[in-house]
């Protein structure tokens, strides 16, 4: 009887996952969808424990509940306390934890299953993918929070990585073939997988991290599905495959938004182009503008568009920018925000951030909608964005970002760019926009200069 109840509940949980994911792809229902999937998850976990057949010692129950309790508290607090700007790296971190969980399952289950080739194949696949996802996510996490600044590339890294990938595959296949029970092979495979995850993500530039995280996300889904296969557990299988397939599609959609094939992200077309582009060096002089002059300029504008980028997030300037918007609107200036699909470190990152500081949802315009409006705009204020407004994407076929759709800020009457310095953007390339006649640079930390700007604006009244 237990088994039947278990199956029915697992089925219901699977349905909540599917519905939840469906609802998550629509702004109106997203929050409910997330809660629905969470309820399904809790039910599935409880079912696995409560309806288990066979004797289980109190010690084991104690360990399980203890681990769940601590995990819940730690996970809850981390997720609640993290700043909105740190969201992307947190997703990466949690993804890594899931991968590690799958890897550990593989490590432990290995012993019981060496005589059954199918089980062994499933265990090794889950362990390898889980380990890669774990170490890869950790590198992505370190890159996003700035611990690991630059893309590190070994010579011939593509060749090495591809070789290791095939090596892992061949080694696993060999282990299954001979049915070895020797743990040394298991550990070699485990550490090689960890190393592969690191080497796989290391050469990829920070700007591509969202794509990488999304890809690793679907890897972990796959690892979970292998676990489901091993235990004959349907809810693990449905949840895992669902995330694996939806995650892969999401990865491809993200790549499309950046107009870069997934192959280029992974095998680093960026890397090849960067050196060539930076050799060109700065072109000509830039014009600077101070907060007080800019305040006057903005005060007498009719239409202002703000282009936020990661610099805004780093400086925590989302509240000041809202303040700026309020003042300008009170002076009769029309203010909107232009959101590039990959602004920030993740698609939707800027929307989340600006929503946090109460910027109205319909003031945030997507790229296709806002691009025709730049021509009628008096001032464009670019805050901490760089690559998404780089004209090279349009007119320099040799540029590594060539072909990426950009915001046409150059069509506006004036363009103010706030940056901390003249350093290149995340893609590591020069931006000729800064040297244009219509462009003025506002140097400094976004929060600091915007606060000054707001003060100047208030004084003008």
């Amino acid at each position: 009887m237990n088994l039947e109840i278990q199956h029915i509940i697992y089925l219901l949980s699977s349905v909540t996952f599917i519905l939840g994911l469906k609802m998550l792809s629509n702004a109106k229902t997203a929050k409910k969808g997330n809660s629905l999937a969470a309820v399904g998850m809790i039910t599935a976990i409880l079912t696995a424990i409560v309806f288990h057949d066979g004797a289980v010692s109190p010690l084991v129950y104690g360990l399980i509940f203890g681990a769940i309790a601590i995990g819940t508290v730690v996970g809850w607090l981390t997720a609640k306390r993290v700043q909105m700007t740190k969201m992307p790296e947190l997703v990466s971190l949690f993804n890594g934890m899931g991968g590690a969980c799958a890897a550990l399952i593989g490590l432990v289950e290995f012993h019981h299953n060496t005589s059954i080739p199918t089980n062994m194949a499933v265990i090794l696949a889950g362990m390898v993918i889980g380990s890669v996802s774990f170490s890869g996510s950790m590198v992505a996490w370190a890159k996003l929070n700035g611990t690991l600044k630059n893309a590190i590339r070994l010579p011939q890294y593509n060749l090495i990585n591809t070789a290791i990938m095939f090596g892992l595959f061949a080694y696993s296949a060999w282990m299954v073939w001979v049915g070895t029970a020797d743990e040394i092979h298991l550990y070699i495979l485990f550490f090689a997988s960890i190393a592969y995850g690191i080497l796989f993500v290391l050469p990829i530039g920070g700007a591509d991290m969202p794509v990488v995280i999304s890809l690793l996300n679907s890897f972990t889904g796959l690892a979970a599905a292998f676990g489901g296969f091993l235990y004959g557990n349907q809810v693990m299988l449905t949840g895992g495959i669902l995330v694996g397939s939806a995650g892969t599609l999401l990865t491809l959609v993200m790549c499309k938004a950046m107009n870069r094939p997934l192959f280029n992200v992974i095998f680093g077309a960026f890397g090849a182009g960067t050196t060539a582009a930076s050799e060109a060096g700065p072109q000509g002089n830039v014009k600077e503008v101070g907060p007080s002059d800019l305040a006057v300029q903005l005060n007498y504008s009719k239409k202002v568009i703000i282009v936020p980028g990661y610099g805004l997030a780093v400086a925590q300037a989302q509240h000041v920018i809202k303040e700026l918007e309020t003042i300008l609107e009170s002076r009769g200036v029309e203010v909107t925000y232009a959101i590039h699909p990959v602004a920030g470190r993740m698609p939707g990152h800027m929307n989340v951030l600006l929503a946090e500081s109460n910027v109205e949802y319909d003031k945030l315009k997507e790229m296709e909608d806002i691009n025709p409006e730049f021509a009628q705009t008096d001032v464009v204020l670019v805050v901490g964005a760089n690559d998404v407004v780089n004209p090279a994407a349009k007119n320099d076929p040799s540029s590594p970002i060539y072909g990426m759709p950009i915001l046409d800020v150059e069509n506006a009457k004036a363009c103010i760019v706030n940056k901390r310095s003249m350093n290149a953007g995340y893609a590591g390339i020069e931006n000729e926009l800064f040297f244009r006649d219509k462009t003025q640079m506002l140097f400094g930390d976004a929060k600091k200069v915007l606060t000054e700007l707001v003060t100047e604006l208030k004084a003008l009244d």
């Binding site: 599917i18 939840g20 994911l21 998550l24 792809s25 702004a27 997203a30 929050k31 997330n34 809660s35 599935a44 976990i45 696995a48 288990h52 066979g54 289980v56 084991v60 399980i64 203890g66 681990a67 769940i68 995990g71 996970g75 809850w76 997720a79 993290v82 909105m84 947190l90 997703v91 993804n95 934890m97 899931g98 590690a100 969980c101 399952i105 432990v108 199918t118 969202p210 999304s214 679907s218 972990t220 889904g221 979970a224 489901g228 235990y231 557990n233 299988l237 449905t238 495959i241 669902l242 995330v243 397939s245 939806a246 995650g247 892969t248 999401l250 959609v253 929307n351 989340v352 109205e360």
Partner: protein
């Protein structure tokens, strides 16, 4: 090969159908929702914790290494589930106000 298929045919059916469901469900998601969606999917693959729990339930009490690794696995899996759902909820909270 044939043997593998007949033994696991239910599982294989689930896998194939779920691949299509996954693709279909994401369909036309607006760019704005990419991050929350990724985060939500991230929480769902936390279902791997069920595997860690099953592992624990089937482990003999004197196998300390397996128990230790299993406990860590349950902890990490829970972190994935709880953290994933809570962080997604917080992101979506930002959109809801308007």
């Amino acid at each position: 090969m044939i043997e593998f298929f007949t033994e696991n045919k239910d599982m294989i059916f689930i896998v194939i159908l779920m691949i299509f469901v996954g693709v279909e469900v994401i369909g036309k998601v607006p760019a704005v929702l990419h991050t929350p969606l990724m985060s939500g999917a991230n929480a769902i693959h936390g279902v791997v914790v069920v595997g860690a729990i099953l592992l624990m339930l089937n482990t003999e009490t004197d196998n300390y290494l397996a128990l230790a690794l299993g406990t860590i696995a349950v902890f990490l899996g829970t972190l994935n589930v709880v953290g994933g759902f809570v962080v997604t909820d917080r992101m979506l909270e930002m959109f809801k106000k308007k």
